[in-house]
Amino acid sequence: MPTIVSVDDSTVPGEGSSRLLLLVSSDNKHIVVEEDIMSRSRFISKQVEGFEATSQRHAILLPFSSFVLNKVIEYCSHYRGYYLLEDDPDAAPPGRSPVREWDQEFLDVDRNMLLRIIKAAHYLEIKSLVGSCARAIADMIRGKTTEEMREILGVENDFTPEEEHSPSSKCTG
């Protein structure tokens, strides 16, 4: 991927030694964010480690829109400085913990946005956000009929009538 912008090693006034990162979204918006805020992202942390190894700091290009990126930054800002068990590398798979109240409000968005956020969180390796999104999606389809699940999540029925009610047909495993 091309490196399009160099970033100096500036710090945020009044915020101690927190350095800045330049994130570039798929719609080519440049967003400057404090490194501390994004440290919850394993992906970003690994990028920053790479910067330190080469003594050069570059913009980080991300494959999702500024709209989604800003939502993720909002999440990371809210939990800045908090330890979340789900983000521990040794923690159980995402989604095992109850959804926090703030997360419920934060994720009170439409399906499109929710799916975009979980994909971004997955890309950025933010397990806590992946877990909260996954729970929100699971809540949308839990207890629903097959047809309702398809409608809610925009999934096309690609079964033949014979296949539809037999999990043993045309499936791997």
Partner: protein, 239 residues
């Protein structure tokens, strides 16, 4: 504003990678399972396997993920009704070689009191018995088509599961009639052994409860269940 997505292409679950779908499915299948332990369950919700089955009916890709994940199929929660009995072979197949937790119980909403209503209607039709007569109730139960259907389903369920008794980790029965408990115990007595069975739970849930003592004639698994740690009996006794 969240409405900023209005002019963007629709994002559907089809665009999620398998890893994410698996996380979502795991939550769907397990998080609200109302009975995380193999103890005597309360009839409130579908179990793990029916949820997995429902997800597998959405599309090919979902089915592939669901059926490739044996842990989704290890909790064989069966209501004695044909649509659930037909699920048992899928559980046996897709759980691969993993231990099975088996729960057979009345469906949600068909609790002992509902069953009592069924009985009451049947009694009114027949106009033969007083509701306080336990032995008379037994005769009425066995004669009813509903009871016969339940017993057939129970028989079919056990027929599917018995060849895999070596994988049974727990077995829990909540029956609506004493004769069903006796039937199951007599069936278990025919099985050779249950090498990894840890929990055996038998419960009779009916408003006219009687103490069933099926063990004086039948010893489950020929007494060969070396890992058995817990026996839970509710209105079922040893003589």
């Amino acid at each position: 504003m969240l409405d900023a997505t209005t002019h963007r292409p629709q994002c559907t679950a089809m665009s999620l990678p398998n890893e994410l779908l698996l996380i979502i499915f795991s939550i769907c299948v397990t998080s609200s399972a109302s009975h995380p332990s193999p103890e005597v369950p309360q009839a409130t919700d579908l179990g793990t396997s029916p949820k997995a089955l429902a997800l597998s009916h959405v599309c090919h890709r979902w089915r592939s993920i669901i059926t490739s994940t044996p842990t989704f199929w290890t909790r064989v929660e069966v209501f004695p009704a044909p649509k659930y009995v037909h699920m048992v072979p899928s559980c046996v197949k897709y759980s691969r070689s993993l231990p099975l937790d088996i729960i057979i119980r009345p469906p949600s909403g068909v609790s002992s009191s509902d069953h009592g209503n069924d009985l009451a209607q049947h009694k009114n039709k027949e106009n033969v018995l007083s509701s306080s007569s336990v032995s008379a109730n037994t005769v009425t139960d066995i004669d009813s088509p509903k009871f016969k259907k339940r017993r057939r389903c129970l028989r079919d369920t056990l027929a599917f599961l018995s060849p895999h008794v070596s994988r049974w980790s727990s077995f829990s029965l909540v029956a609506e009639h004493a004769s069903l408990v006796s039937y199951v115990v007599s069936h278990l007595a025919k099985l050779p052994s249950a090498p990894i069975l840890r929990t055996l739970a038998l419960s009779l849930k009916h408003e006219d409860r009687v103490l069933v003592q099926p063990f004086h004639l039948h010893v489950p698994f020929h007494g060969n269940a070396p890992q058995l740690e817990t026996i839970l009996l509710d209105a079922v006794g040893f003589d």
